[in-house]
């Protein structure tokens, strides 16, 4: 287990090095002065500029510059956003939890609908219900997310008026930000309208989360189906069948757990996909998350925000991958032998 952990740590550090190298080189590839791109200080005086040059070691060669950049990042200094002139790290700390919240809720929805449906399809292998589930999943997978988002707004917000179309919570509620995850913040706040706020936040997250969840859910359906079919064909299932266990016992005691293990790994891998979908969805639903902020930064040529945002986001996804690797290893003793990360 120690070697397993060390290997993952090793992988993490090297990937981070490559990521920072990429993000560092972006500041040279973007138009303009690299040190301004790095620090985001637009309207600085001569003296300020000299201080910045000093702190980023611009007078030394490029390797020292890179180390200076790494030093800044480790200290949590990602520079100033060019458009708002406030520290990028502060903005990210406000926005990233919103994206995590949306992605997590979407992931839960995708898991709790996709995996059971996949199992049902596998149990009913080659029957009508299997075919229906598979074709619906295929159809769902092919729908582009921006189109689905707009359609959902048109149908549920404008047409039926059931669910709100924009934002995280109605502006009427004043919720102080503590954790950044809005549901926790609402529960922790001492506002008299707490429950109204909670309902409102729930209503706000349903549409975007469902839209984000659709594509991963269809993937989970197919993964769950494939892994369940595989498990059901193994000899130990045949053995318990021969022993006369009831169908329920076979599925819940033996098949389900073995099938789930295979899916857990993919849940982590799907998370990256999910965050990408969430970025587009955030724009459509005006969700104040990091995806929308990154896309706006591209419009505003906010280079500091783009490079730090990419770094933080990819770092976050990478951490999620490593975490799922650990969970997988904890659940599946066979995987602990895998010395190499994947």
């Amino acid at each position: 287990m120690l070697i397993f952990t060390l290997r993952r740590l090793n992988l993490f550090i090297f990937t981070m090095l490559v990521l920072t190298l990429l993000s560092f080189s972006l500041s040279f590839l973007f138009p303009g002065d690299p040190v301004i791109n790095l620090s985001g200080q637009l309207n600085s005086t001569e003296q300020q500029l000299a201080v910045i040059n000093q702190s980023y070691r611009m007078q030394d060669n490029i390797i020292w510059q890179y180390f200076a950049y790494i030093q800044h990042i480790i200290q949590g200094d990602f520079g100033l956003s060019m458009s708002s002139q406030s520290p990028v790290i502060d903005e990210i700390m406000i926005l990233l939890p919103a994206t995590i919240e949306l992605s997590l809720v979407a992931l839960l929805i995708a898991m709790f609908t996709g995996i059971p449906l996949g199992f049902i399809a596998a149990i009913k292998h080659n029957k009508t219900s299997d075919n229906i589930i598979l074709s619906v999943a295929m159809f769902g997978y092919s729908i582009p997310v921006f189109w689905l988002g707009l359609l959902a707004i048109l149908f549920f917000s404008i047409g039926l008026g059931w669910l709100p179309s924009a934002g995280r919570i109605s502006l009427l509620f004043e919720i102080e930000m503590v954790t950044g995850i809005q549901f926790f913040d609402i529960l922790m706040s001492n506002s008299p309208d707490k429950w109204q706020a909670f309902q409102d936040a729930t209503a706000h997250i349903i549409l975007p989360a469902c839209v984000v969840a659709l594509a991963p859910a269809t993937i989970f359906v197919r993964l769950a189906r494939a892994s369940m079919i595989e498990v059901l064909e193994t000899s130990y299932i045949r053995a318990v069948k021969a022993k006369g266990l009831s169908f329920q016992q076979i599925i819940f005691r033996h098949a389900l757990r073995n099938a789930l293990i295979k899916i857990i790994r993919h849940v982590g891998l799907q998370f990256a996909n999910l965050v990408t979908i969430a970025m587009v969805t955030e724009v459509i639903f005006s969700w104040p998350g990091i995806g929308r902020w990154l896309i706006e930064s591209i419009y505003q040529r906010d280079y500091t925000a783009i490079q730090s945002g990419l770094l933080v986001l990819s770092c976050f996804i990478f951490i999620v991958h490593i975490l799922t690797d650990f969970i997988y290893a904890a659940l599946n003793p066979l995987a602990r032998g895998n010395k190499h990360g994947s």
Binding site: I153, I158, A166, S170, L171, L172, F247, Q248
Partner: protein
């Protein structure tokens, strides 16, 4: 075996179903509170942009006025009723001497300022506050004059500084304005959205802390609402001012949801995320809906096509006339305003008392236009720029489309047009610097006095403050305006203004296009007047009608049903 399968599938189904029930419960578990819910006590207004400042003295932009003037502040006097009669506000009465030069205001003694997180007032409104508010504008030596730039565009355009001899505090609740000469619009100007009263005590406290700039960013006023928080580009939150000197506002919270995109405002309105929306699109769709209402007022405004008379070739009257003749105004009104506007023959609307019926409509005559161009020596045509404003205003809902239509019209007489647009603040700055040739812009009246059209838009003094972007300066026109201001005789004033309109139509520094209606869409449950005939909106009288008892009861039933469903699990 088959039975078992059925049980498993229903088992899985039930699991999911219970998750759904939980969500439904969360959504429906309301309705049992005795007091009105938060949304019943609040209004969300989808506004079209962020205010530049919270002090209306500093701006002329409609968005800022809408967000601040009638929400945060009061004026000494105000307009009331259909006839827009000047009535008491912070001043309970006033007295004008016979020569019209001395005006004394007697203030109310029970006017409280806002108490907020950043300021606690120790006293009520006194003459000091009035003195401070106006000295800041007219006294260039005043410590607060240059805070926030030192530009007071409205007051500079009406030459407030030259008009007021001095302002005297007689006692704590009496203040006297001494004018250099009688001016019939002085009182009207004091009742505009711009002439608001600030707190002198707050200014003193800020000066001690060396935070003078906060006076326009964290406002303190006497109005029906006070500022709670503001996030640029996102929202403004106002709370009710509980010690308001009139009856309290009926709503407790007022939120401006800043949504610059027209479609997103419409979506939010339809999805009930905002109660009131500014400048709605898709009027047909809104009228179709039973639960929405479309309000409109024929606003005192003008959308026009202006020429920079200091730049060739528009320094030539003939060229201006030729271009005007070649533009099909009816087509502009049908396309850009969708017919929701009145064609303008002069800069003031027909509804104003000063409008002269003998003013003739500019005709559409490309042949004559071509002839005029020949006379001007430009028969082969030329290339010009049209600066189209980048924002939508009721006086011009889509300047870029209008510019394109004009482009097509002018092509007929051999003029090539380039359309130019900048971001709004850059646009205004560059216009003020005179970098343009022609431009599409407009003007809202701040008060119903006709002088509010003539002076700020086209007088010589307005060329300096930047509101007269045609840079047209005509001695005869200015003299007429002066004469009109010096008399209180309506008939005489009307004849002066008629002459002034004639000068404009002969010289044509700008081509008046349309007087639009201002629209606003709201939920049917929202009652009370929001739109004013002129100037900014006000939420003071607005409230939400509580829903009838029946739907609430059925909602309760619905939630108890859900409880039963859960209990069965």
């Amino acid at each position: 075996m088959i039975l078992n399968k059925v049980i498993t599938t229903t088992g899985v189904g039930l699991l999911k179903y219970s998750a759904l029930v939980v969500i439904i419960l969360l959504l429906c578990a309301c309705g049992d509170s005795n007091k009105l819910s938060l949304s019943q006590r609040s209004i969300i207004y989808c506004s079209e942009g962020s205010p530049e400042t919270f002090n209306p003295q500093l701006v002329t932009s409609g968005t800022t006025i809408d967000a601040t003037s009638h929400q945060l502040y009061d004026r000494l006097i105000t307009y009331k009723g259909k006839e827009n009669i000047l009535s008491p506000a912070l001043a309970k009465s006033w007295h004008v001497t016979k020569d019209g030069k001395k005006i004394t205001f007697y203030l109310r003694q029970d006017v409280a300022f806002h108490q907020t997180d950043y300021f606690t007032p120790s006293r009520k409104l006194t003459a000091d506050d009035v003195l401070f508010s106006f000295s800041r504008i007219i006294d260039k030596e005043h410590p607060y004059h240059h805070i926030s730039g030192g530009h007071y565009p409205f007051f500079q355009s009406v030459e407030f500084g030259n008009l007021i001899e001095k302002i005297e505090k007689i006692n704590d609740y009496t203040i006297r304005f001494q004018l250099k000469h009688a001016d019939s619009t002085f009182l009207a100007n004091l009742a505009t959205d711009f002439a608001i009263i600030l707190s002198q005590e707050y200014a003193e406290q800020l000066a001690l802390k060396k935070k003078e700039h906060d006076i326009d960013l964290h406002p303190i006023g006497t109005g029906p609402f006070k500022l709670k928080e503001y996030h640029i580009g996102s929202f403004i939150r106002y709370y009710r001012h509980d010690d308001y000197w009139q009856d309290q506002a009926k709503i407790e919270q007022l939120v401006y949801d800043i949504s610059p995109s027209k479609t997103s405002r419409l979506t939010k309105l339809l999805a009930k995320e905002c109660d009131v929306s500014s400048y709605p699109i898709a009027h047909g769709k809104i009228k179709e809906r039973q639960d929405l209402e479309l309000d409109s007022v024929t606003a005192l405004n003008i959308g026009y096509f202006g020429f920079n008379t200091k730049k060739a070739p528009f320094n030539n009257k003939l060229v201006r006339l030729a271009v005007s003749l070649a533009i099909n105004k009816q087509a502009l009104i049908d396309t850009v305003y969708q017919g929701q506007a009145e064609m303008a023959n002069s800069i003031i609307p027909k509804s104003s008392w000063a409008y002269d019926d003998s003013i003739q409509m500019q005709e559409y005559n490309p042949i004559q236009a071509k002839a005029l161009l020949e006379v001007a020596g430009l028969a082969q045509g030329f290339t010009m720029d049209i600066w189209a404003m980048p924002v939508q205003r009721s006086y011009n809902p889509n300047a870029v489309t209008m510019a394109k239509l004009i482009q097509a019209d002018l092509k007929e007489i051999g003029i090539t047009v380039n359309i130019i647009s900048y971001e709004w603040t850059t646009f205004l700055r560059k216009l003020a610097q005179g970098e343009h040739q022609t431009f599409l812009l407009g003007w809202y009246a701040d008060h119903p006095d006709p002088d509010n059209f003539f002076s700020p838009m086209l007088s010589c003094s307005a060329t300096e403050t930047g509101n007269n972007r045609t840079f047209w300066c005509n001695k005869e026109y200015d003299a007429l305006l002066q004469q009109a201001l010096q008399t209180n005789n309506i008939k005489k004033r009307k004849s002066y203004y008629a002459a002034a309109m004639k000068v404009i139509n002969e010289e044509l520094p700008l081509l008046p296009i349309a007087h639009s209606k201002r629209y606003q869409a709201r939920d049917k449950a929202v009652k009370g007047k929001i739109l004013a005939d002129f100037g900014g909106i006000s939420f003071y009288q607005v409230y939400k009608e509580s829903p009838t008892q029946n739907p609430e009861e059925s909602e309760n039933e619905g939630s108890s049903n859900n409880l039963n469903v859960e209990a069965k699990h």
